[in-house]
Symmetry: C2
Subunit: 283 residues, 2 copies
């Protein structure tokens, strides 16, 4: 697996870099970004936080807007941000160009339906191929945590809940917490997974959290978020956690909306949360 | 002077807001953004840092990418980011669509030449009209500092050096420090101010700093900046300051480039620098 360096910027004593590689899982060229904290300059292997972005995003939204590098540099955590869907010629897109299906809207599932199944295998890409690539090419340990926003918050929760051995902790901002019961999730799952709703449940954080688990989870949700009631449904996630005794911390933040202005306000808390669990596990 | 609110986001306990107003100076509608720190919610009047952006930017680049709100919230400083040129129908632009002349490239001067003079009066707009508007409509004091990046670093230095009674301190990232001696500056000044180079000197930070002054100035410059040698020329500014005894702190930062990844890395230092001088003056 070879990597092509696309850009490189020094920031907070470390390096932000964008790479392209050909993904065997997705059968297309994919871009991702990585932040390498200053500790890696001394040869140290650092843990990795995977960040999954929301609808319409690429690797750039988080890296440019979240303000995460100061804390990542201090704590000694690398951050990896993949794209939100396969891309390129021959990759299916919504014929109407909808923002919530197709390009930029992979929903971190393995699609089973035509025309999506050929390339839309974001679950396996983020779970398997990307970490293998990262751990082969960069000075990182195999300690991983995962976080994300909106569609990416859904992805982070689902990946961590299904794979407790792979992630030390999980967090999310404004996640689509119960996609089987909201318009965004139903539209995407019907297209990617088909009409049989039983196949949807493995990708629903509320369903999974209701089954229990022990991976520490932190969720921040703005109370001024326009998508809160119809699409996000954190109260369903909380009820499932309460029922199963899952260690979920849900924080409702008065006045905050769905934007990166919200994420930036609390990203330091999330990095400290992950650092605590990453360092405990690697000690 | 009336203001139209365009957007509003809670961030770091305060508010980022975008407004539009009709500028009498520029004879067009102008957008700006303001960050109001949490202290203003209690009715406190806070000082203001004006941020002037670089070529091609609007108010959004700094507000989305600089990561300045955490420190601004802690220190109790409002930040105001104007656009980088007049905009809209009837506003002259470069006929070839160049990025370094016309729209997005006002260079913070008062143009005297056709077709620019009609709208391109950014110096007066930023010096007079905008602060009047801000101090009329928001809970801020008349304590002001100014900072900026690249073309905006030039603007910040020139405004502060020409108007020591208006600004408590000035800082810049990667400023165009000697525009009369670099391609960007010569192209813009020739267009906006005409062939007589004597008229350029009031807009050249190196020329002005060589005349002395006492407004504290902090400049950060990345040594990995592609524009360093041909366009920015911080060494000329430093030589002028050394000659006149001007209180300039110039920091060369190894490895950093011209991007917001560089600005974000050191913006906290700039906010603390301004806070120190703003609070001294208001005490």
């Amino acid at each position: 697996m070879s990597l092509e360096l696309l850009s490189s910027n020094k920031t907070f004593g470390g390096w932000h870099k964008q790479y392209q590689h050909v993904s065997a899982t997705l059968k297309c060229a994919m871009r991702f970004a990585i932040y390498l904290p200053p500790a890696t300059a001394d040869g140290a292997k650092v843990p990795v936080l995977y960040w999954l972005s929301g609808l319409t995003c690429t690797d750039e939204n988080f890296m440019q807007k979240a303000g995460a590098f100061r804390a990542a540099a201090e704590l000694g955590i690398a951050i990896v941000a993949p794209d939100t869907s396969p891309r390129g010629e021959g990759v299916a897109d919504d014929p109407d160009g909808a923002y919530d299906l197709g390009l930029g809207a992979g929903f971190y599932v393995n699609a089973t339906q035509a025309p999506w199944a050929e390339h839309y295998q974001m679950y396996d890409y983020v779970l398997q191929e990307l970490p293998e690539l990262i751990e082969q090419h960069f000075p990182v340990s195999s300690q991983r945590s995962v976080s994300g926003h909106s569609m990416g918050g859904h992805g982070a929760l689902v990946l961590a809940l299904n794979n407790p051995e792979r992630f030390s902790s999980v967090s999310a901002f404004s996640p689509i917490a119960n996609p089987v019961n909201c318009p965004w999730g139903q539209k995407a799952f019907k297209a990617y997974l088909g009409e049989d709703r039983d196949t949807w449940r493995a990708y629903d954080a509320t369903e999974l959290m209701g089954q229990g688990g022990s991976t520490p989870a932190l969720v921040d949700q703005g109370e001024g978020d326009n998508f809160l009631t119809e699409q996000l449904k954190p109260e369903a996630l909380k009820a499932a956690a309460d029922k199963s005794g899952y260690p979920l911390t849900l924080r409702l933040q008065p006045g905050y909306d769905h934007s990166y202005y919200f994420i930036a306000s609390f990203i330091d808390d999330h990095l400290r949360f992950h650092a605590q669990h990453l360092h405990l596990h690697s000690a």
